[in-house]
Symmetry: D2
Subunit: 379 residues, 4 copies
């Protein structure tokens, strides 16, 4: 066990996602028996002082203030991209060309064409790659995937997902800058579509297969906000809310909604799948539970079952505690790293790869196109 | 109190809705102090034996087998229409011309133009009229209306509603005939749109105002079913599922879905409204509860409140039992009759009138048009 | 069907329970196909005006102001006792001696010895009798009984029940008089023990068999209250809260609690039974649901099932509406009357009989004795 | 920040609790800004190979196979005791005498007299000490404490707590040995009383003050089990279930239950406190939520609030993620270590100290005495 191979990590960006990823790298080998061990080689950020504090806090051996310098280093095996969306493409392409493995925050890119180019370069470079759509690795969601793959739901009729928040309701909130780049269309590419719906779409494609066409509606409730970078009140370019209807390739119907204006919901990602034989529901606010309805149950005692996903025979849960004791949000990243390291040892890809994440990007593009054209759009 | 005035009721149709209405007529004066008392004068049905049994069970004084005969009777004050949708128009128009008050089951009509004609005739006749959109009078829903009217929610951003069932999933189920006319497009006009979404739309218009435009999607999962009237396998003309997005006149976004293919849901009508200051949720499976979120609460103890709508200061609840003891589905009809009788005494209309119900019909038409044209359609 | 036999009812007391019973008599034949039909012959109350108003409202043909006069009438078949607890014994014994059937509100008596005498007389008289422990006939509770009788739970380890209220927390509330006789020990016999725990005990004996010994604790939080009858502040003699532990004859352990000082609970009667193979939970605030856990389920999708007890194959539910549409509190009384009338036709007793209700009384006595002696007491 | 002082940890025992503590030591400085940093100096276990594997996995610098050797080492500042209950006393006393700080797993001791001796020695030694009653530091429970301390609940009437499990129902389960020492009375001292109720009691004393007297009931459902150490079927000495009623010094009533025979519950620790003005509920299966009822709310929208304890202004939550993203079981130990290190810097004790934990032990003793004597017992 002490003979583990190091995987030298270079992290670019030290915001919220930098923390979740660093925590995952630190913990993964305490809980998973793996051939590889992440070694925190360097963190890169433009502000040297902040980068140093972050490095010090998490145990990174060194810092860089220019991501190109980080990529150029020989002692980096894998580059982890945690910067705003508008930088993913350039960094990923450069890293791939430098032969680095890449772990990229979601969404993959600003739009599908940009993503296409990234996939092309990365695949030519033949480097291991994955995109941090972390909610796939909530044990309850992984369990849903397993149940579907076992055929327990039967033919699928409906898929619906919401991602509801309420944190941007105030019109006093500015846009842009380090803290609020998600509200700046130039940094984020879109609003809730790329930030929240992208999660819903990634899970949906994984659980229910491809989407063929969409009809969408977006809204920007607050039309102008002070911009942190310019200090001026500027037009808001992002979507505050986005809904869409769609058809899946398997004949089922989809309904998706996301907003940052749903008072009372902090980060309520919910999904429900209705099959001929069984149905599944999940929500992020109680992420350790899966709701399951089995039509095959004796009708007298048939009802939605609330499954507390904490037993050792459930996905990833043999690594943690005992039945009844829940894990939380951060563990999804640990699972992602564990799978990445395990796949590295086996030489297999870690889903979602850039190519898989590109499919989500295509749906996002179709959604935004549909919203602006008020037409159904094929994916 | 013994000096009550009789309101002579003639009921047409003795199916499921005939029962709910008859029960309401029988109970209303036990619980509400009203000037009028419904008198069960006659029930009309084509099958004489069944009509007699129904009359005997509920205490109707007489029967008719031809609705025209019932309408022609001088001793009938109000006609209650509980027949399939494709008969509402002819009966209502004839009843209005005969000067009868009319209580018509929902949906008002097969489509909006038919409904326009009904409204025209009824208003010319000047007879009292109402449509049985009973869910408005679930105390929790009436309470929602009160909270909204008091301005507690503030500016509204989102309205969403679902009506999910699973009873038609089997392809062995036939269409048409007395029991299953709701699956026969000729009798029902549409599938879930007129049957279930009409409820959601009626409540939405009442709580959130007018809808301006819609984009809809429908699906018929089982394309052919044995027809009970012809004995042959025939094309299914109804929509098994229908979703739509819309804009409300107040600037909020709407998302609606209805289906009879959502495994695990019996009659799950849910609605949620997100306002700037507060949000509301309700579902029919626990109809005696209202969920309420108040952003003004102290943040440390802020959360969705589960309000058990059984106290005497809540709508209609002073008439029933004591706090903690719930009422059920059938009481919504009692409340509707109580309001109708009360309004009769005051000379005021009982909402929803035919004119108000026509608005729901217009949205339904727009939804079905949008689904077939794959275009946004103005209401 | 029109050949129904009348059962002439004489109701004594027209308070809250007078209303629930009258409603049940009025509705039962609309929903249940029975040989007998209750006929509301007379209501008896000391205040003539109130009695007339009640009779007028519910359709009682006549009134009496002296219960002895009512019992003396030849045209009364069954006497329904809805008066305070301290009058049950005298009225029931007189009625039995007059050969009347008796439907007596719970609890049976002020204490077990009084109840013993009542049972003795009633059984000697050979009249049909029942006590209105209505919660047995909540469909979800009846379903629990059915599941237990089918052996689905296996060996029982634990039974626990609570009945929590909060309506007497204010010390400004007076005791005694028509409205608040439940707070007056002379009228009620005890506080929450006879009022609330009696319900829990009746259900427990029915579902889980006899109780052998108890250890109890009571408390009176507000020691003195204004007495409505004397106008003076007087010592409060009732128990505001009562808890007890017990052993059942089947080897399982019981834990019971009742209080009127549990802020936030209106009438929260909950019960849970843990068996070797399965467990059951129910609560009155959502009385149309039964929670069921089946250890035999596939471990991957094992969890508490929330059963919406509204389907036609569930107890009593074929008489009401369709799946998903709930009934409420008042229906428990309709079911009780329906069973009473059905048993009358068959010549079988209606559970709980006076004899069965006496068992509950014995447990209540043991509980109160244990609380005052601070000793374990055998039942 | 890099100037942190090391606190050299010596861990004795490497079972389940060894993992939770080690994880806490590893993570705490990544999330909390503290003067001290735990340094994993040595782990001690009797099996050398296992100890080495554990050390390797968690990064302990060395191992010991004799706890006395560990205590004798100069380079150990604090001893963490994670061994079975019957060893706590000897180890703790020796460690104190050697001048080591002590972090001891709960329960403190086999019984109160043993605990008295431990407290005496530890306080004479003047070493920092704490007992790992981790559930105090679930953020929702810490929030409950804060709300109570702010006086929001008003006078307390009721406190109730359950700890329900179902993992020992099978009679095939052996007792004793490394894995199942909790079933062996010689190693554990008692069954659910010391294992589970001790948690409930610790929280209760913290939230609601001292307990004055108790009446308890215990049961051992499976009387004999194979003993892993002797290979023979032996009498089971532990309690499988234990309930007790009690009075608190503040005049409120308590009701506690614990069992390992409640089918359907994995580790369901629940508590509820009813005050004059407000009530609180919490359960471990959804540990990130606190239920709160405020009687001061507008009656029309008054109900139990489900507070998602994930916001930055809630206890400990500014250290973790963003609103809506939950933490889990393991974080309670991180919080405990963080508080211990923070207190170390300040020179203040970390609650619960040995002295505070002794109070829980006294209640446990009274409970067990009451159960065997069938008498109320003063604490």
């Amino acid at each position: 066990m002490s003979e583990k191979k190091n995987l030298n990590i270079g992290l670019i960006g030290y915001g919220f996602m930098g923390r979740t990823h660093s925590n995952a790298y630190c913990k993964v080998n305490n809980f998973f028996d793996l051939e590889y061990r992440p070694k925190l080689k360097a963190v890169c950020g433009r502000n040297e002082e902040n980068a140093k504090a972050f490095a010090n806090n998490w145990g990174y051996e060194s810092i860089e203030t220019d991501w190109k310098a980080l990529i150029a280093r020989d002692d980096i095996d894998a580059v982890d991209i945690c910067t705003p969306n508008n930088t993913h493409s350039e960094i990923a392409i450069a890293a791939a060309k430098a032969g680095k493995m890449i772990l990229c925050e979601k969404p993959l890119s600003m739009n599908a064409p940009e993503g296409e180019e990234m996939v092309k370069v990365i695949e030519e470079a033949g480097v291991a790659n994955t995109v941090w759509y972390n909610y796939r690795r909530v044990p309850a969601v992984s369990l849903a995937k397993q149940l579907i793959d076992e055929g327990r739901l039967g033919k699928i009729f409906h898929y619906r997902a919401n991602f509801l928040q309420d944190w941007t309701i105030s019109s006093d909130l500015p846009q842009g800058g380090e803290a609020l780049w998600r509200l700046d269309v130039n940094a984020a590419g879109s609003g809730v579509t790329g930030d929240l719906l992208a999660h819903c779409i990634d899970t949906a494609l994984w659980l229910n297969g491809g989407i063929t066409d969409v009809s969408a509606m977006t809204e920007t409730f607050v039309k102008e906000r002070m911009h942190s970078l310019t200090g001026k009140v500027e037009k808001v370019g992002i979507d505050d809310a986005c809904s869409f209807m769609c058809h899946f390739g398997n004949g089922s119907l989809g309904l998706f909604e996301s907003t940052r204006y749903a008072r009372g919901h902090k980060a309520l990602y919910t999904l429900e799948i209705n099959g001929e034989n069984a149905s599944i529901r999940w929500d992020l606010h109680d992420l350790h539970r899966l709701e399951y309805f089995d039509h095959g149950d004796d009708p007298l005692v048939r009802g939605w079952r609330s499954v507390h996903v904490t037993d050792g025979d459930m996905p990833y849960m043999d690594k943690w505690w005992v039945p009844g004791l829940q894990i939380g949000y951060e563990h999804t990243f640990v699972h992602h790293v564990a799978d990445f390291l395990d796949n590295l040892a086996k030489g297999t890809p870690t889903s979602p790869t850039f190519r898989e994440a590109l499919e989500t990007q295509k749906v996002c593009d179709a959604v935004l196109n549909s919203a602006s054209s008020r037409q159904w759009v094929n994916v």
